[in-house]
């Protein structure tokens, strides 16, 4: 089955109650709170370390720049002149240079430096600028430690978050899976399977992924943002304001574009949904489309939808493509602003060059978290929307709690009496389907329920199985009201085989055994022989251990036989066959029926059937129409009555015209 797609383009969905959903999400994380706290602390520490680094780097730069200029002060020259270790010739060279400098009005710096370079070694060694290499090494070592520790922390932090978020996702999935079995059947009548599936996979995925990424990002980013602002102000407030203003300006523009693009993203999702829906419809109905020459029509409609998608696609693609360049432009803008203002300040001697280097990094540290916070916020939006859907499902009203019910019927001791007493029921309050239904069934009777589609046959069975709660009246099993019995107890008493041939992904054997324990191979084989599927199973390459799934290796009829075999394994006093043989051809049905009859000896059984041939030998035939029994009796009796049943029966072989 194709995986339901909800939000492939990554467009944030609007949540109804953003803060409320997130709060609830965090409350649910209580179990992992220590892991969470540790990772948050680690994230903050790692961010602070990242902030400390530029400062150190700026110190490093200052040390290097200090070692750029030769120290030619008067004192140094005096020292050289007085130094006895330096030869006279060398001193004269220096003198010459000093004189030539003082004679020049405009000093060519490059030339001067070259001349200094060519000074005798003895003097050059003294004048030459020196970098404090010991300090350089010390800072480098410190930075190395900072970088490694910061990386280590951020690694540990993300591992912890991964553990938290994945286990949380697992817990959510389990809760949803358990919830499915606690909901009344009514819920599934009004909700689509695809929607529930999407909650189990897509929504939980969204929550886990965003939690994994966004939470740490958010913490780190906010720390970095606050920290870098603080550090900038500490270092130099003028530069700080420059950096912040220029970045904010850029982000303002970006925000405007983002807002404008939002609607195209939303539109794109809608168009994509429409198109995918149309494709699904046409592909599934391919035969009809072909046979009715609907291809041209389909092509026109498809092109129309495709065109709409194309327009949104182009625009949304463009806007998302433009974001990155704008961000880097904003980064450059901040850089230039910092440089220019920084240069102004250095030339006035207010700050050192190292401060500029530090700011170049601060600007980056400041702009990156801004974009990341924006990203994390949109992620949180979709997290909130996703968790809303998950919680909404988990909050659905469950079936009534039955722990207090004391009634219990032992499987072995049940006699097999069933009574419907003035039962009234409707799937929704305003549409009553079963109006006033009463019938008494004696132990061991074979009861057939017939009637046109929508007469309420299946509903009756649903009520008997306590799948739905009756509005008024009562149903008694062995004189015990089902209201006093636990659902589990009731289900235990019934074998039920349904029209829909439900098999799960597993082997044939697993499907027959299902959840029943201690089933011998002999029992399985007997059941297969009884329903006449043993031969077919033997022809399969893997025999009884062949894999079944809902593809074509096994036909609908054979699947139905397997489900009947499953029912046969289960030994219970009551039997319900709800159109159980409608997918089997009549010859096979007859065989199965005979086997069933053997099995139902002494058991009370209910058989719903379309084909009247199946039920002719029933002890009691209930003819239903519009929620009521309109006739009841044996086949012969009903035929004699010449009423609804006789009419229904005879319509099988009336001449067409």
């Amino acid at each position: 089955m194709p995986r339901p797609m909800r939000n492939p383009g990554g467009v944030p969905e609007k949540s109804k109650d953003f803060a409320g959903s997130l709060k609830r999400l965090f409350l649910n994380l209580n179990k992992w709170r220590y892991l969470l706290i540790i990772s948050i602390v680690l994230a903050i520490t790692s961010a602070i370390l990242a902030l400390a680094a530029p400062n150190k780097l700026s110190d490093l730069t200052d040390i290097i720049t200090d070692g750029l200029k030769p120290n030619i002060s008067e004192n140094v020259i005096k020292d050289i002149m007085n130094d006895k270790n330096i030869s006279v010739e060398d001193k004269q060279e220096l003198n010459k240079l000093i004189i030539s400098i003082s004679n020049q009005k405009e000093i060519d710096k490059d030339l001067l430096l070259k001349e200094v370079d060519s000074l005798p070694k003895s003097i050059y060694e003294v004048i030459k600028p020196k970098i404090d290499m010991a300090k350089v090494k010390k800072i480098a070592l410190l930075l190395t430690i900072i970088y490694i520790v910061s990386a280590l922390f951020s690694y540990i932090e993300s591992v912890l978050m991964t553990i938290t978020s994945n286990n949380f996702a697992k817990k959510l999935r389990t809760s949803i899976s358990k919830k499915i079995n606690k909901l009344p059947l009514k819920y599934f009548d009004t909700h689509e399977t695809g929607d529930i599936l999407s909650r189990v996979t897509n929504d939980v995925d969204t929550i886990a992924q965003n939690m994994n990424q966004s939470l740490a990002t958010l913490v780190t980013s906010i720390t970095l943002l606050l920290g870098s602002v603080l550090m900038m102000f500490i270092t130099n407030w003028i530069m700080a304001i420059t950096a912040i203003i220029s970045s904010i300006l850029g982000f303002g523009i970006m925000g405007l574009i983002l807002k404008k693009s939002q609607k195209y993203f939303e539109q794109r999702q809608i168009e994509l949904g429409n198109l995918n829906g149309y494709i699904e419809e046409i592909y599934s109905g391919h035969n009809v489309v072909c046979a009715y020459n609907g291809i041209k029509e389909a092509n026109v409609e498809f092109s129309n939808l495709n065109e709409k998608l194309y327009n949104c696609n182009k625009k949304s693609q463009f806007y998302s493509g433009v974001m990155q360049p704008i961000m880097s432009f904003v980064g450059n803008l901040g850089y230039v602003a910092v440089c220019v203002v920084g240069a102004l300040l250095t030339s006035n001697g207010i700050i050192s060059f190292g401060v500029i280097v530090a700011f170049m990094i601060y600007v980056r540290l400041f702009t990156n978290p801004l974009t990341q916070i924006a990203q994390a916020m949109t992620n949180l939006q979709s997290t909130a929307a996703a968790s809303e859907r998950v919680f909404e499902f988990l909050d659905e009203k469950e079936m009534t709690n039955e722990n207090k019910l004391t009634g219990k019927l032992e499987k072995e001791k049940v006699k097999g009496k069933i009574e419907f007493k003035n039962v009234k029921f409707g799937y929704d309050e305003n549409r009553i389907i079963i109006k006033d239904f009463s019938v008494k069934v004696k132990p061991g009777q074979k009861v057939a329920i017939v009637g046109p589609t929508g007469a309420g046959k299946t509903t009756l069975v649903n009520l008997l199985m306590k799948f739905y709660e009756i509005n008024s009246g009562d149903i008694l099993i062995d004189d015990v009201s089902i209201k006093d019995l636990k659902r589990e107890n009731i289900h235990d008493l019934f074998v039920m085989v349904l029209q829909d041939t439900w098999l799960f992904d597993g082997t044939i054997k697993e499907n027959i055994v299902f959840n029943k324990k201690n089933v011998t191979d002999e029992e399985i084989e007997n059941a297969c022989i009884t329903v006449g599927i043993d031969h077919f199973i033997k022809t399969l390459p893997g025999g009884i251990n062949s894999h079944v799934n809902n593809n074509d290796t096994i036909s609908g009829g054979q699947k139905q036989l397997l489900t009947i075999a499953r029912g046969m394994i289960e030994n219970a006093p009551f039997l319900i066959l709800d159109e159980a043989t409608s997918n089997v051809d009549t010859r096979t049905e007859e065989l199965v029926q005979k086997a069933m009859d053997k099995l139902t000896v002494g058991k009370t059984s209910f058989i719903i059937a379309h084909r009247l041939s199946t039920i002719k030998n029933a002890d009691l035939i209930l003819v239903m129409n519009e929620g009521n029994i309109i006739e009841q009796g044996t086949h012969a009796h009903l035929m004699k009555q010449n009423g609804f049943y006789a009419d229904l029966y005879n319509s099988q072989f009336k001449k067409n015209a």
Binding site: G67, H286, A291, N306, P325, S347, N515, H610
Partner: protein, 587 residues
Amino acid sequence: MFKILKNFSKKDLLLILTCTILITLQVYLDLKIPDYMSSITTLIQSETSKIHEILIKGGYMLLCAFGSLLSAIIVSYFSSKLSADFSYNLREKIFKKVLKFSNAEINKFNVSSLITRTTNDITQLEMFIAMGLQMLIKAPIMAVWAITKIIDKSIEWSILTGIGVLILLLTIGILLIIVMPRFERVQKLIDKINGVTGENLSGIRVVRAFNAEKFLENRFESANNDLTKNQLFNQKCFAILNPIMNIVMHFLTLSIYFVGAFLIEEAGLSLKITLFSNIVVFSSYGMQVIASFLMLAMIFMIWPRANVSAKRINEVLDEKISITDGLLTGEDSTSIGTVEFKNVSFKYPDADEYLLKNISFKVEKGQTIAFIGSTGSGKSTLINLVPRFYDVTDGEILVDGINIKDYKLEELHNKIGYVPQKAVMFTGTIKSNVSYGDNGKNKPDIETIKKAIDIAQGTEFVEKMENKYDSHIARGGTNVSGGQKQRLAIARAIARNPEIYIFDDSFSALDYKTDLNLRKELKKYTNDATNMIVAQRIGTIIHADIIVVLDKGECIGIGTHKELMKKCKVYKEIALSQLSKEELVNA
């Protein structure tokens, strides 16, 4: 992948060329920026320089940045047009192709796979082109250019940058090798979770009736555990990527400064300042080199997925269509309304076993032919050969005396009103569903539609609906019941007014009475049409002019009910399993 890229038109290629030029310009401008940064640092360093010089350089730098932004915007415009065009065209192509498929091809791929190929796979490719194309052009240009800019400046720094790139690529490579196969497993496990949940939902009544809730929860839990375990492993592996990236970048900067300090210390005075400004430039070019390699790595990361999608799409586009159109319109046919099978055999292209063997019969205009047999006897397959959902393997089928392979498909379909086993509804209204398609004549008017629905015994429920004939039909017809859908599907065939009706077990969803009334009315209305009916109930076919009994693909009996009761054992068995002897005699 490359094959699918051939779907670009000449105009697209021109656009790509323009993009390449613009991206080159962008790279040029981007790489110019560190030059200006370097001259700005030099300016700041030398005390003699004036502020306005810095302003000028800063201005140039911003100009470069702005130029790069501008060209990036244009490139983004072109590439979004390119990717949108690409996906639009591809979608059109694949949709049109699939509509030409016969059942053989559709079954080969299966419908849900074809749907994902037309939707998800194309979206996947579109994203790859939108993101990948730009990166694919930009990364190599940038890498090469940035490298040439720094390689001659300092061997030591170049080596450092090289080491950085190497570490990053190694990390990503190792991660991909370890994690990629697990990604596929995660995908499968997600499908499994979906599958198990789907099973629980679709079998909810069975599950409850058997008290098997725990059983299913355990199945789910084991899939859930598997998924969580694999996800945890993958994500833990990937958690290492970010710290390593950060470490590499930071260490590159640090080591450039550190090594730089030694180089400056060694160098002569005149070189010191140049060297220093080189540090600044280099650390920024080094970043560019690393960034471009990261970009390439990104492409490698999204490549496999896109490649798989491309392969899947190509499979559809390359599939040979087995049903070819003929030329004849059948206008001048003399034997209107006849269908004849001449020694028809059929098997699936790759199968060993024949599904139908040597079937021959002929129906005349106005006659009804019925097919009966047990599950898997080949009834539906046989009837599906007439509208050419499949082509016969041997033998031939004649409609109106002409081989159906010689007809234009459209003309053949104009003669046929086909009702499938499972009714198909389209989003729209009752009216649009009944008047669906094209029969070479005008669309049926409202009177015809009403009449058709009436014959199909649908008037009662349609009239009860809020907007009657204009009532909305939801996607998949979920707002009408199975029996109602079936009746509308039958009405659709009637409204078409065809020469030949094909009912593929279309009456089973109806109760006996509706079934009978429907067929009675239909007979009245379509007196001279030919009917081909597949059925399970004897009652439905008992009065057919010809009954064909099929067993394991072979025709084991042909004749009227009375004849078959005498001479065909299987038919007799089927009949007796449904009706008693007396009833059969009375019929």
